[in-house]
Symmetry: C2
Subunit: 319 residues, 2 copies
């Protein structure tokens, strides 16, 4: 197989032995693999893969065909179109995935779109629903709404019947965010116009959150899952006490195999049916061949894009 190999912050295409599945795993022939902000951190040596995953092959999400299954995988998965999240190794022609971490890709969905679904939608659903307890008719602020997780979160919150305010650095993507279901779009400098919010999904970090947190409704939930814009915030604890707010945060990548299976299962039930009917979709900014991963990362790192950056794998080298 071929993989995107990361060594000394340089990405190159390398040939490796195609892996065998563990007893409860499958091997997926990858057709498309999304790039995420965490991959850029990993390229800079700042976000290593968790234990048990390839240390030098990045890639946290994939879509492709199941081509091999371990001896204890009893579900008929061979040949199925799947996508999902892995701890690493997805930016390759083949990757190993725990069988219970697979989502089935709806028939009409393209490989490219499927390759960019899992990381963003699992992260956003876990943050909004499982951590944030977002409910119908509540008001949710999505801070950093134009990024991959933000775009997923806007759609999920809209589908849940929440009132969605999407906040971005500038107004470039506001029309696109309204088309995805945002009821209101604001730049960070317009945040003083914001009403009281029940849930804040913070995807940017400290500077944004310091401004958002003065707009909490009683019993608000603040969920922090992105810190690209800074980690240290000045928090007025009187706000927490007066609103009885709850501030939490997490990453998906560090979780146990069992917990990732649970998050996958929730998305399979709550979101895949809406993906099938077209209520949810994955905007794509640009597609690069797997061999051009370095250029794709550079494009991602420029910022300002709307939608996912996808690495596409040709069918030819799969066999």
């Amino acid at each position: 197989m071929h993989v995107v190999a990361l060594r000394d912050q340089i990405l190159t295409l390398e040939e490796r032995a195609t892996p065998l599945p563990g007893p409860f795993d499958v091997v997926v022939a990858v057709r498309a693999a999304g790039i995420n902000a965490a991959d850029l951190l990993q390229r800079r040596g700042l976000y290593p893969a968790p234990p048990g995953w390839p240390v030098d092959v990045p890639g946290m999400e994939f879509a492709g065909l199941v081509v091999a299954a371990g001896e204890h995988v009893h579900e008929p998965l061979l040949g199925r179109r799947v996508c999902g999240v892995v701890g690493g190794g997805a930016q390759a022609t083949h990757c190993v995935v725990p069988a219970e971490h697979l989502l089935f890709v709806p028939d009409h969905v393209s490989w490219l779109e499927a390759g960019g679904f899992a990381e963003a939608f699992l992260t956003a659903h876990d943050a909004l629903v499982t951590q944030g307890d977002l409910a119908r008719d509540e008001h949710v602020l999505i801070s950093g709404a134009a990024g991959g997780v933000g775009v997923a979160a806007v759609q999920i919150a809209h589908a849940l019947g929440a009132r969605v305010t999407a906040v971005t650095r500038d107004a470039t993507h506001h029309d696109a965010l309204r088309a995805l279901g945002a009821n209101e779009t604001l730049t960070i400098d317009e945040l003083d116009q914001l009403g009281a919010v029940d849930v804040v999904l913070e995807l940017v970090g400290a500077a944004h959150l310091e401004r958002a947190i003065t707009h909490l409704a009683p019993f608000a939930r603040v969920v922090v899952i992105g810190l690209g814009g800074g980690a240290r915030m000045d928090l007025d604890l009187r706000v927490v006490m007066a609103t009885r707010a709850r501030l939490t945060g997490s990453t998906l990548r560090a979780r146990s195999r069992e917990e990732k299976a649970l998050v996958t299962d929730r998305v399979a039930h709550a979101l895949v049916p809406r993906w099938r009917t077209g209520d949810l979709h994955v905007p794509i900014s640009r597609v690069f061949p797997l061999a051009d991963a370095a250029a794709a990362y550079d494009y991602f790192a420029q910022g300002g894009k709307f939608g996912k950056v996808i690495l596409a794998v040709d069918e030819a080298p799969l066999t």
Copy 2:
């Protein structure tokens, strides 16, 4: 009746008309009423009583005898020894209390001890158990453990089977806190010796919490209910994400009548039986007559005490 009247930050004893109960209320002939840090704030004009409570008679907790009941109070409460929390007005010979906010005082418990039970134990139980989800064998840090709520929290956490670390400004009261159930006692300057904690009960504020928050175990809960030592903290959101911690806070006083009834009910079931058996008790620092409320407040404000400051009401003027 006589009340402690607060006007222009001055406390004096005044005569007022004895109140009548509302249809769902009782009138309690007060025998003892505790002083709390919030009373000192209220004396300075910083913490007014919530709507519906006496604006110029302080006092948030009482113990006494039920001497009148409203027409819709069907439980036989007349003559019962009770204690509880009110939004204001407890530092008086009589106060009006919603019937569903009463706790029954165990027979062997003195009026003085009962007068200092409710505010501290309701607040601590709500913070540790309802907000903090403290469980048996977990490690809890109680920051500001020598105060009224802290002393209650140490006993409650110990009774729950948690491992208790009590943190104070200096070591003066460490022996007393160990006697109440603290497994470990530290001064704030010794906090680097602390292991990982599952729950932080923050009773002091920002400066203490900034030091405690670097010691969180995975899935830790931080509950902020006191800010005397400062409200603005420098929070590293990476800590929240890495530990998947949950930070919350609240006050008891601002809650609805319904919610206070729920908190009271939880304490009636979870703590009053342990108070009856002597597992929980209320250390008393000093007792003042109701007429000497100003001196009692001044004594409280000096700091350094251990246990409650109680205003005692003689039986004579009750009738």
